[in-house]
Symmetry: C2
Subunit: 378 residues, 2 copies
Amino acid sequence: MTARGFERSEYEGRLARAQALMDAAGLGALLLTTEPEIRYFTGFLTRFWESPSRPWFLIVPASGQPVAVIPSIGAALMAKTWISDIRTWPAPRPEDDGISLLAATLDEVADGPVGIPSGPETFLRMPQADFARFQAKTARSLRDDAGITAQLRAVKSDVEIAKIGHACEIAARAFARVPEIAAPGVPLSRVFRGFQALLLDEGADWVPYLAGGAGPLGYADVISPADDTPLARGDVLMLDTGAVWDGYFCDYDRNFAIGAPDPRVSASHTRLIEAAQAGLEAARPGAMACDVHRAMADICGAGEGAGRLGHGLGMQLTEGLSLTAQDRTELVPGMVITLEPGIDTADGCILVHEENIVIRPGRAEILSPWADALPVLD
Amino acid sequence: MTARGFERSEYEGRLARAQALMDAAGLGALLLTTEPEIRYFTGFLTRFWESPSRPWFLIVPASGQPVAVIPSIGAALMAKTWISDIRTWPAPRPEDDGISLLAATLDEVADGPVGIPSGPETFLRMPQADFARFQAKTARSLRDDAGITAQLRAVKSDVEIAKIGHACEIAARAFARVPEIAAPGVPLSRVFRGFQALLLDEGADWVPYLAGGAGPLGYADVISPADDTPLARGDVLMLDTGAVWDGYFCDYDRNFAIGAPDPRVSASHTRLIEAAQAGLEAARPGAMACDVHRAMADICGAGEGAGRLGHGLGMQLTEGLSLTAQDRTELVPGMVITLEPGIDTADGCILVHEENIVIRPGRAEILSPWADALPVLD
């Protein structure tokens, strides 16, 4: 049984690594505003981020402990983490929504320029008008965080990997039970609701992501919600989930034939498994993201023109590197990634397959677990 | 049966109202980057926003139709909406993640300064480094959107209200079935998983939010995830959900006594229902948010010092006005709000109760539906 939470040493290690990188980058502090960034350094885990009404801040100084500058509604939960310096204001307070408290705290604890995550996949979770007010108030200069936060998060500890693996196992058990909820005549929307319930029943804490589709030769995209169209014999059904356990995601899919599949679907599915296998073989320390992409794209038949065929995975559904022809990120042990090859089966119709792996010395370790033949539901 | 989606006229009305306000504010276009803002004008509904890897843009020009500037992965789904001008790039492409396409499109379709939502509850969903690049590329001047987007979204159409009402009914049926999943000895984490499954079984598309707590005299906060502590006789259990149907939220809670409740809990619960009733009576057109707050705070015993006792509700779990002592927003028919009074029952322990209503001429209409006596589970 994987335990919830982390030992204090996990957070101390993250902080020490961040401070070493801040020292090298000449930064006096990091200023963080988003859920995964703040949780990475604190363990603060709540679904309350769904509410846009309040900004939250964490200051990670170049030396010393992180300081949380947060709405008072979060004080009790933050006090359960390892963070001891917690400063609050009664948010929402539009005329000063933590801005003066944040500026005063930052000026107190940061000695030098302050890095804010500003690169790919980041955003600043506070109103732009408030950010302008904050810039006018703080005595510190603000700049990019030099990618420190993203760099640290890209390589997972073994306890993080265990949580992702646990989420993958939950999804594996739910995928094995899809015959309970999907059959010819069942509306896709009911399949989606049923699959989420299976994930919860198998132990997911929550299900932030489910997409998929169904059609004779595949589906138009991999991001659509369900409609009420009933499954029909001859369809291929795809379910792609990001289920969460203790704050960590799995992200993989499975295809199912509804009745006997079209031979083109069977052949494409076999090709996708082969592509994922090639990706698995290529995903070794020292290889680059683009190498793994090419290994899969060559088999899928799209070559360099293939889009993103996988990505990093962890506290977010997608994070970090992209398996594209352009991404030259070097793989290192501890990176958790998805392999997500796709094939165009017909005009406007695709088939995709996805697995989750972790980079290890030598061959990668499979987390999802690996799919084989296309299951038939009838 | 409430229908999914909206007629085209719903979007045409939103666009016409936005363009009238843009004209008055001297804006040549709105530039939108977040899920609810883009969905409000397009109907683009997907859970793919869970992935932070790609920015999405919508330009709403002062005249003419909206233009979507989006990653190619979204083209098929966006083409199902009423939007016809869809421009794509192969994201993620870190070296130019839609920035040059966005700047060129904006310069083409916007005649005048461009408004970006920058006030309370907004954020800019793109990397700050990309925003700086975009500012350098566009010939248009950028400014605040004068609150236009928030102002429009605050007042719901009857078809929007029907969707929120539908989500409320789903939650009502799930709350009625809580005795199936909660009893003395059941871990809170299992109750949370089971309640989400009930919401799905009753028709929720997905469950983006569930919080709650349990303890003899209440709970420490209303934002915590569940732990594995078993429910015990004498606890009061609270479940607070934001369940979604067709992109619209409910947001209300229910309390349950696990075995016979402490008399202080029963009395507090009765008081909370009275407070919500006072809020309901006060929530009439022409009243201000602070008036509704005071009506409830007076009964809860906290007076002016009480925190936020409710908020707007719709495409997001919380949006728009706050029921605080400071918020002077005037209530108008069509605003959907929560009434969320709270009481301190003991040191560090609270009891909260929440209902959803819509402002109507005269007395507000109840959507949640209204709770009465504290149910006992044994």
